[in-house]
């Protein structure tokens, strides 16, 4: 079924090389996008829980904006609109970035900042799930705001939310495909290109689907490993990620019997 992938293309490569180069862009986008998202997400998530009104309002605004605009529209804003609204010398410099990078950087920024808003909400949920006693104990020990977050709150909150971050990891690598709308030749775009060049649509999309499945499996398994490694002893192990998310949400609503306690 997959023989066609090893045939020569018009540009002297094989179709599988197109697919692999697409996979490379997808992985690069997902990997670096994830770290941007994680860094920004943790900061904004902390911002949602602090006393400082201005910081809290800014963090809220960030989450509202980035969560309520579709990722496709955000992609267009970064790619088409940003160079136009910047001062023209700067905007022109951006437009002159050569092809793959010219769409890679906007896509990276877009994905990172979009996912950050979602991670911020998870971080906030993690922090709010901690017993108040943790902060009070830290205060009683004379720790200030920064030290409390750095040594007491964050180490616990981040460990608690690892299972729910799994779905964000999956989200990042799935959303990389939206970058094809601004011309980045990532995996889905390459699959479409192969299908158009060879008319072997089953093979082209099938190969891409198998690669995405493998990525999903790897992402899921590594998050499980991470969860096992950093799991806080004495808390309930979480098996199903959707289940976890839902249980948490429903638990907040207070309508769920036998809800899973996150921290005992």
């Amino acid at each position: 079924m997959f023989e066609v992938l090893f045939e020569q293309t018009a540009d002297g490569q094989r179709y599988i090389d197109w697919l692999l180069s697409g996979l490379g862009w997808t992985l690069a986008l997902a990997f670096f996008g994830w770290w941007i998202a994680f860094g920004v997400g943790v900061v904004v998530g902390i911002g949602r829980t602090v006393q400082n009104r201005i910081f809290a309002a800014l963090a809220r605004l960030y989450v509202e904006i980035f969560r309520n605009i579709p990722v496709l529209v955000q992609m267009f804003l970064w790619y088409f609109v940003l160079p136009e609204v910047l001062p023209s010398s700067f905007g022109n410099a951006i437009k002159q970035i050569p092809p793959p990078w010219g769409s890679f950087f906007p896509a990276l920024l877009c994905l990172g900042l979009y996912t950050a808003a979602r991670i911020a909400e998870q971080v906030r949920a993690g922090i709010e799930a901690l017993p108040r006693g943790q902060t009070e104990a830290a205060n009683a020990l004379g720790l200030g705001g920064y030290l409390t977050y750095r040594h007491v709150i964050l180490p616990q909150a981040l460990r608690v939310i690892v299972p729910s971050l799994t779905s964000e990891v999956m989200g990042v690598y799935k959303n990389t495909s939206v970058a094809l709308t601004i011309g980045l030749m990532e995996l889905t775009a390459q699959a479409r290109q192969i299908s158009e060049a060879t008319f072997q649509t089953f093979t082209a999309f099938g190969a891409a689907t198998l690669i995405y499945l493998a990525l999903a499996l790897i992402a899921y398994q590594s998050m499980m490993l991470i969860d096992k490694a950093v799991h806080i002893p004495g808390t309930t192990p979480v098996k199903d990620m959707t289940g976890q998310e839902l249980t948490e949400e429903v638990q907040q609503a207070g309508t769920l019997p036998d809800a899973v306690e996150i921290v005992k």
């Binding site: 496709l72 999956m170 289940g243």
Partner: protein, 231 residues
């Protein structure tokens, strides 16, 4: 900085409005198809009906692992072929991008809704079913009148949040060149070159609708926290 001219939006509004209506129609249709199918999927897994439940499980895992754009491409290609086989003469029947979008989003969202409902089913206390049996309700009546209403009630905030995400995801039909809100804006932008104003306006429309909807869901959640406190 170029001069921004937002009066162009007023002129373009009728066309953008028709695009927005399409996005909303697609959201509504996908919600209905997704909820009905999703409930079936969830029940199939809940009762662990042999073979069918494994197939459903596999379908959901597959759908949740690949990007929506790839799913759209798949269906765009597959649906005419499948319909051709169903109709008997074996030739692909082209049904156009619009119907493909409706079918794809319905089937795609079914996977997500079924995960929500499945967890909702697990969340309902076992005693509810036992009590229904004690009242001599048949399994069907028990689920129809006792279990499912509670599941829907417990899961409704999450179902609604998922629907807001669905509304945003419908923008991806842009890759099928359909005229949803984003499609309308990009087509106009190609004509009049007012790309900045168009996309900013689209972003604003999505922002207003989605945040209003999430505020509403938030309110709903608070109310449920009150009334649901007795278990």
């Amino acid at each position: 900085m170029n001069n921004l001219d937002f009066s162009i939006i007023l002129q373009a509004w009728p066309y953008l409005w028709s695009g927005l209506l399409f996005s909303l129609a697609l959201t509504a249709a996908a919600f209905l198809i997704g909820m009905v199918l999703g409930t079936c999927f969830a029940l199939v897994q809940h009762f662990t009906i042999p073979v069918v439940s494994q197939i459903v499980r596999g379908y959901i895992a597959l759908i949740r692992s690949i990007p929506l754009i790839l799913v759209l491409f798949w269906f765009f290609f597959l649906v005419p072929i499948v319909l051709g086989h169903l109709s008997g003469n074996g030739r692909p029947i082209p049904i156009g991008a619009t119907y493909t979008a409706f079918i794809t989003f319905g089937l795609f969202e079914a996977a997500y809704y079924s995960e929500i409902i499945r967890v909702g089913l697990r969340a309902v206390n076992k005693g509810q079913f036992e009590a229904s049996q004690a009242l001599a309700l048949s399994t069907f009546d028990a689920y129809r009148n006792v279990i499912m209403p509670q599941v829907i009630r417990v899961a409704s905030p999450i179902i609604l949040s998922q629907t807001i995400i669905l509304f945003q995801d419908t923008s991806l039909v842009y890759v099928l060149s359909l005229t949803d809100l984003v499609g309308a804006a990009s087509k106009l932008a190609q004509l009049n070159g007012r790309l900045v104003e168009m996309y900013l306006a689209v972003a604003a429309v999505y922002l207003v609708i989605s945040s209003a909807a999430s505020q509403f869901v938030g309110l709903l959640r608070k109310r449920y926290a009150f009334t649901g406190a007795h278990r």
